[in-house]
Symmetry: D2
Subunit: 344 residues, 4 copies
C-alpha cells in the first residue's frame, strides 16, 4: 500500500514523499502513527553520524492506533489481546533472523545481534518505514505492546527512551540477592549522574523498583528539580563542589556514609565516569549507559576497580521485553511523575 | 540492672517478674520497649510446641525507644546515626558466633546457623530478654534499626513479620535478569496464596518492588479486601472454584493466559502447595514460605516440576538486613497501605 | 531429494521406506547419518506414549558426516568453520518461530516454546526426517555443531543425552556466587541419584566442572562401578540402607557431615524425590530431572523445603547451546571416562 | 608461650627475635610453620609501601603441621576432622568483628571489611604472628583448612596466591546461566593477560572449571610455556603484534572470531586494561585483578563498555572459603600442573 512519510534521502535532507509499505497480511498489524519522538540519535543521523543505507524514513520512538488487525493476530508481544483502536508502542528493532553468533549464543541480549531489521533506520525499499510515516505495517517478527487504556497515547512515544534508562537500571539487579547487596532490592540507594531524559528515566525506574534513596547529580538546578519530580530524594548540583568534595558530599548522604549501592552514569561525559567510579560503596555497582557515542577518553585508575571490588556494567539499548516493563512503569507512576513535561 | 518482664516459666505458664538484664556497657544500647507483637510462634511456644530452655521472656517482634546509648555507639546496624529518643526495631536473632559450618560457608544465609542468641527465645539467665520486658539491652552482636521519624513507632513491631513476607518475595529475584524473566522486575506478575499477615506482607513487597499485577488468593472475602488494600490488583476467592478451574482462572488473569511469573505460597496448607506448583507459567518461580510448621504432606507430581522447568524456592525467616528493606517498605507505603489494620 | 529411512507409520509399526527430504539449498547442509542413539523416548514413542502426527522418521540423538555444504554456509551454530567430511552433532529441536509467549519472553529457555520443528518427531510430509534416515537436510533454523577431529564420530550420538544430564547439572550454577555457596564452584560436592545414562552424564558434568566430591547413589553395584568410571568419588548402594540411614550415610561422607551442596535426582522414581530433598545441606540445591514422564506422585513435606531453605529446580531437556558444552565435555574427558561403554 | 620469629621492626629492617604468642587455649590450634611464601606484598611492606603498625612478623602465605589441638576443636573451617600431625593452610585475614557496615551488609564479601586481625600484618604485641614465626596459634576466629593427605605440604603455601587467581576467575561465574553465556560454564573460552603467578592460577582455575579454550597472553615465551603447563591451550606473545593486531589475533583464535567469553587482566599494567576491554566478545566479561597497587592510569573509551555491553568486574583478594576451592584445585590438578615450578 501507499502512504505519506518524511523521508531522509541523505543526511541533512528531509522530504515529504509518498512511499510504498507492504500490504497488510493476515499476520500483520496496520498502525496509524500518532506520536513520534525525536532524540539525539535522529539528530546524529541528520548530521551524517550514522552509516545507514539511505533513503530512510526516520522515527524510532513511536506510538499509534491500530487501524487494522490481520486475521491471524490476536495478541501483542506480551500476550495481551488487541483489537482495532488500541494504542500500541512499537520496538524499533525487530526479531533478528536467529543465525548469527549472538542470537544463537546470547539470546538474552538480542541487541548484540546485528541481523535485525529496524523501523526508522532501514532503507525505504525494504518497506519498513519509521515513525515519520503516516502508516506503518507491523510484521510478525516485530514487537509491539498495547498501552493500557488509562495511559494517554502520547506517553507511548516515551516507552522507547524509558526502556533505555530502565535497562540501565535493571543491569544492577544481577545476581538477585539484594539481602546481601548483590543486586538491587527495595530500600537500596541509587545515584544517577545526569538528569537529562535517560537519567530521569533511570531515576523513575529506581523509584518504581522501590529504591529507598535516589540521589540525582547534575549541573543545572532546573534539571534537578525535574529529577525530584521523577523520584529523586536528594539533589546534588555538581557545580557547587570541587572534585573530591563532590564524592564526599554524595557519600555523606547515604547511611553509614559509605556511598550509594548503585551509580548510573547517564551524563555521557568522561569526567562523569571518573567521578562515578568513586561514588558507590565498595562492592557496589556502576552502570555505564551515558556513552552511547564517543565523547572522549576517561582516565581511570584500575586499582580503584580492584580495591573497591566494583562491578562496572555497560548498558546498550534494551531487549524488546523492556517495553513491557517501561509501559508498566508509566502505568504505575503517571499520577506522580510529570512524564508530559519532557515533550516541551 | 533489674527490670520487669513477663516470664514464661514453662509452656502455658506466664508470670510478671523482676528479672536481671546486663548493665548497659559502652558498646550497648538500652531500649525501653514500646510495642511487642504476638504471632503464631508465641502461641506455639505457649502450647509447648517449641523445645526451649525455659524460663524465657517471650517477644520477638518488638520496637522501642532508646533510653541510653553506650558511649562507643554512634550508629544502628545500617549505619544511620542514632541518639536517645530514637525508635528502634530489633532483630530477634543476634549475630552467630561465626564458628559453625553455616556461618563459615553460607554467610549470605545467617538464619541457617544455629549458634545465635535470640531475644524472645533464650533463657532468662542468659540475660537476653524478649519484647515482653520493660527494658532490653542491645549488645554489639545484635541488630537494630532506626525507624524513620515519620513512621509511627507502633509500626515498628511489624518490621519482623514484614521481613518474613519480604524475604519470601525477594527469593524470587535471583538471578537478577528480569528482562528474560529470570528473576523479578518491574511490571511482572505475582500471585500470593493466603492473605494472612505473611501473604499480605508478600503482597506489599511485590507492590513496593513494582509488580504489574498481584493476584491474591484466599478463602475469605474480608481477607481479600485487605489484600486489595495491601496492593493486590486481582482477587480470587478459592471457594468459588473447583480445583482445576482455580488454576485456569488465575492463568486467565495474566497476559497470554500463561500464569503469573511468581507464586508465593503463604497459606501453610498442603493443598496450597499442590495448587501453587500449577499456577506459575513454565519457567516461573514458586516460593514456599507458608509451611514453617508441619501441617501434613503434599502430594506432588515431580513431572510437573520437570516439564514446567520450575524453580521451587524455600524461604526461612530472613537475614537481619531484611529489616532495612522492611522499614523502607513501611516508609514508602504507609500512606497507601493500612498497616495499622493488622493490630485489630 | 529422495532418501531411505525407517518410518514409524504409527506407534508400534516400523518400515523401511523411500522418503522425500528437501533439496539442499544454498543455506542448508546435507548430512549423511552415521550413528543414531535410541533411548527411552523412542521406546515411549513406539509404545504409543507420545501424541505425534505420524508417520514419523524417529531418531533424535544422531551424528553424521557432512556430504554437502550450501554455498552460503561457512560455520556451525557455534561459529566454527565447517566443510565436507566434518562430523556434526545435530540438535533435534530447531529454532522456534519466535512468535509465542515463551520465545518472546523467555529467550533463555527455548525449550519451553512449543513452536519448533523437530528432527525425529515431525511428520515425514514436513520433510524433517530423524536420525533413522540415511540423509538429513539441515536448514538454517536448525542447530548443528562440529565434533573436534579427535572425538570419535560415534560419540557424537551421545551429545544429545549428555546435554540432558549437563543441563540438569548447570541448573545448580545459578546465581554464580560459589564462594558463598550460592551456585556451584570448583571443589563443591554433588550427589547424583540414579546411575543410568542421565545420572552418569550429570556425574561427568560435575567432574568436568571441578566438583571436589561426587557421590553416586544407585541400587545396582555394576552401575555404581560405571559411575565411578564416569567420575564418582563415593558410591552408595541404596539397597544396603534403611531410609533414614541412607540420608545419614550420604551426609557423613561430606565435610562437616552437613550433606552435599547439590543433589541431582536422575532416578525417575518418586521415592528418589522424597529422599533427595533430605540429602543436601540446608541452603543447598536439589535438581529434579528424572521425572520426564509420569511415574507416580511423591509425598513431600513442604516444611522441609522451608526449614532447609532449599532451591528445588526442575530441568527440562536443554537449550541448543548445551551441545557446545556437551561436546567440550566429551573432548575433555574422553581419555578418562569410558563413554563407549554406554553403547553396549 | 615464647617462639622464634623474623620480625620487621620497621620497613627495611628484619631481625630474628623471640616473641610472645598466646598460650594454646581449648579452642585454639598450635601450628608449627613449615613453608611460608614471599610475594610482592611482602616486598612492598619491606619497601615501606604499607601503612602498618610495626613491629610485625611477616608471612601471609603459610602452611604448617598441627602441633597441638585444643580440646574443643574437632574440625577445620570447612568441617573436616583434624588431629595432630595434619597439615593446614591458614587464611591470613581472620573473621572480622561483625560490627562495621561491610560485615553487616555485605557478608558475602568479607574482605571489604577492615575490622579483621591478620596474620602477617598485625603488630607483634597483638600476638598474631605471621608465617615467619616458628609457631603460630590459630584462634577460633581464624580460618584454616586441612590439606588432603596426598597433597605435598609445601604446596600448602600456594593456597593463598591461588585463592587470588581463583577468586578473580570465579567473579566471572555470576549470575550462573552459562547456557546463555551469562556466567561461566564448561566449554567456554577464557583469555588471561599476564602469565605471572596470579595469571597462572587464574589459568589453572579456568582449567579446573572446564574451560574449553584458555588463551594466555604475555611478553615472555618462557612464561607462556609455563602457562601452557598450567592449562593454557593457546599462547600469544604480545611482543609479536601491533596493538590492534593483538586484538584481532586473539579474537581469531575463538569460535566465530568473536573473542573470548571471559578476559582476566592479571598483568597489572594500564595498557593491559586498555587492550583487555577490547578482547571479550560483546556481552562478555572482563575481570580486573592485576591492579592491586597503583601502576598508572588507563585511558578508557567508555563508549566501548556501552557498545559491547561489557561486565567489568574488580577482584580483591578472596573470601576465606576460597581456600576450600583452592585446595580442591591443587588436589585435582597436581598430577598435571607443575605447581612446584613456582618455588624456583
Ligand atoms: N546506552 C544507550 O543505549 C544509550 C541510548 C540513548 C542515549 N544514551 C546516552 O545517554 C546520555 C544521556 O542522554 P540524555 O538524552 O539524557 O542527555 P542530556 O540531555 O545531554 O543529559 C545529560 C545531563 O548530564 C549533565 N552532566 C554533564 N556532566 C555531568 C557530570 N559530571 N555529572 C552529572 N551530570 C552531568 C548535563 O548537564 P550539562 O548539560 O550542563 O552538561 C546534562 O544535564 C547521552 O550521552 C546518550 O548518548 C545511551
Ligand atoms: N517461612 C517462615 O519463616 C515463616 C515465618 C512465619 C510464618 N510462616 C508461615 O506462614 C504461614 C502464613 O502465616 P499467616 O500468619 O499469614 O497465616 P494465616 O493468618 O493463617 O493465613 C493463611 C491464610 O491462607 C488461607 N488459605 C488456606 N488455604 C488456602 C489455599 N489453598 N489457597 C490460598 N489461601 C489459603 C487461609 O484461609 P482460611 O483461614 O479460611 O483457611 C488464611 O486466610 C503460616 O503457616 C506460618 O507457619 C512462615
Ligand atoms: N528432564 C529431562 O529432560 C529428561 C530427559 C531424558 C530423560 N529423563 C529422565 O531421566 C531419568 C533417568 O534416565 P536414565 O535413562 O538414566 O534411566 P535409567 O537407566 O532407568 O536409570 C535410573 C537408575 O536409577 C536407579 N534408581 C531407582 N531408584 C533409585 C533411588 N531411589 N535412588 C537412586 N537411584 C535409584 C535405577 O535402579 P533400578 O534400575 O535398580 O531401579 C536405575 O539404575 C528417566 O526417568 C527419564 O525419564 C529426563
Ligand atoms: N587483586 C588482588 O587482590 C591481587 C592480589 C595479589 C596480586 N595482585 C596483582 O596481580 C598482578 C599480577 O601479579 P603477579 O605476581 O602474577 O605479577 P607478575 O609476575 O609481574 O606477572 C605479570 C606478567 O604480566 C606480563 N605483562 C605485562 N604487560 C602485559 C600485557 N599488556 N599483556 C599481558 N601480559 C603482560 C608481564 O610481563 P613482563 O614482566 O615482561 O612485563 C608479567 O609476565 C600484580 O600486579 C599484583 O599487584 C592482585
Ligand atoms: Zn531515541
Ligand atoms: Zn513472629
Ligand atoms: Zn533421547
Ligand atoms: Zn601474597
Amino acid at each position: 500500500m501507499k502512504t505519506t512519510a518524511i523521508v531522509m534521502n541523505e543526511p541533512g535532507e528531509l522530504e515529504v514523499q509518498e512511499i510504498t509499505i507492504p500490504d497488510v497480511g493476515p499476520d500483520d498489524v496496520l498502525l496509524r502513527v500518532e506520536v513520534t519522538g525525536i532524540c539525539g540519535t535522529d539528530v546524529h543521523m541528520y548530521n551524517g553520524g550514522m552509516d545507514l543505507d539511505f533513503p530512510v524514513v526516520p522515527g524510532h520512538e513511536f506510538t499509534g492506533v491500530i487501524e487494522e488487525v490481520g486475521e491471524n493476530v490476536e495478541r501483542d508481544s506480551k500476550g495481551t489481546e488487541i483489537r482495532e483502536g488500541d494504542n500500541l508502542s512499537v520496538v524499533p528493532a525487530m526479531d533478528n533472523d536467529g543465525t548469527d553468533w549472538y542470537s544463537r549464543n546470547m539470546p538474552g541480549r538480542p541487541r548484540l545481534s546485528e541481523n535485525a531489521d529496524r523501523f526508522g533506520f532501514d532503507n525505504v525499499a525494504d518497506q519498513y518505514a519509521g515513525g515519520m510515516s503516516k502508516y506503518v505495517v507491523l510484521p510478525p517478527k516485530s514487537f509491539y505492546y498495547k498501552l493500557p487504556e488509562d495511559v494517554p497515547p502520547e506517553l507511548g512515544a516515551l516507552v522507547e527512551p524509558i526502556s533505555v534508562g530502565m535497562h540501565a537500571f535493571e543491569r544492577s539487579m544481577q545476581p538477585g540477592h539484594p539481602h546481601i547487596r548483590e543486586g538491587f532490592g527495595v530500600g537500596q540507594s541509587v545515584a544517577v549522574q545526569g538528569a537529562g531524559p535517560i537519567g530521569l528515566f533511570a531515576i523513575a525506574s529506581a523509584k518504581a523498583a522501590g529504591a529507598g534513596q535516589i540521589i540525582a547529580i547534575d549541573a543545572i538546578d532546573e534539571r534537578l528539580q525535574l529529577a525530584s519530580a521523577f523520584g529523586a530524594t536528594d539533589l546534588v548540583n555538581l557545580t557547587e563542589y570541587e572534585a573530591d568534595e563532590l564524592i564526599t558530599t554524595v557519600k555523606e548522604l547515604t547511611a553509614g556514609n559509605v556511598g550509594p549501592d548503585i551509580v548510573i552514569e547517564a551524563a555521557g561525559v568522561p569526567t562523569a565516569v571518573e567521578q562515578g567510579i568513586e561514588l558507590p560503596h565498595d562492592g557496589g555497582t556502576f552502570v555505564e549507559v551515558g556513552h552511547f557515542a564517543y565523547n572522549g577518553e576517561a582516565e581511570i585508575n584500575p586499582t580503584r576497580i580492584v580495591q573497591k571490588e566494583l562491578d562496572v556494567l555497560g548498558s546498550l539499548a534494551y531487549p524488546p521485553t523492556q517495553f513491557e516493563s517501561a509501559i508498566a512503569l508509566i502505568d504505575q507512576l503517571q499520577d506522580e511523575v510529570p512524564f508530559g513535561d519532557l515533550f516541551n
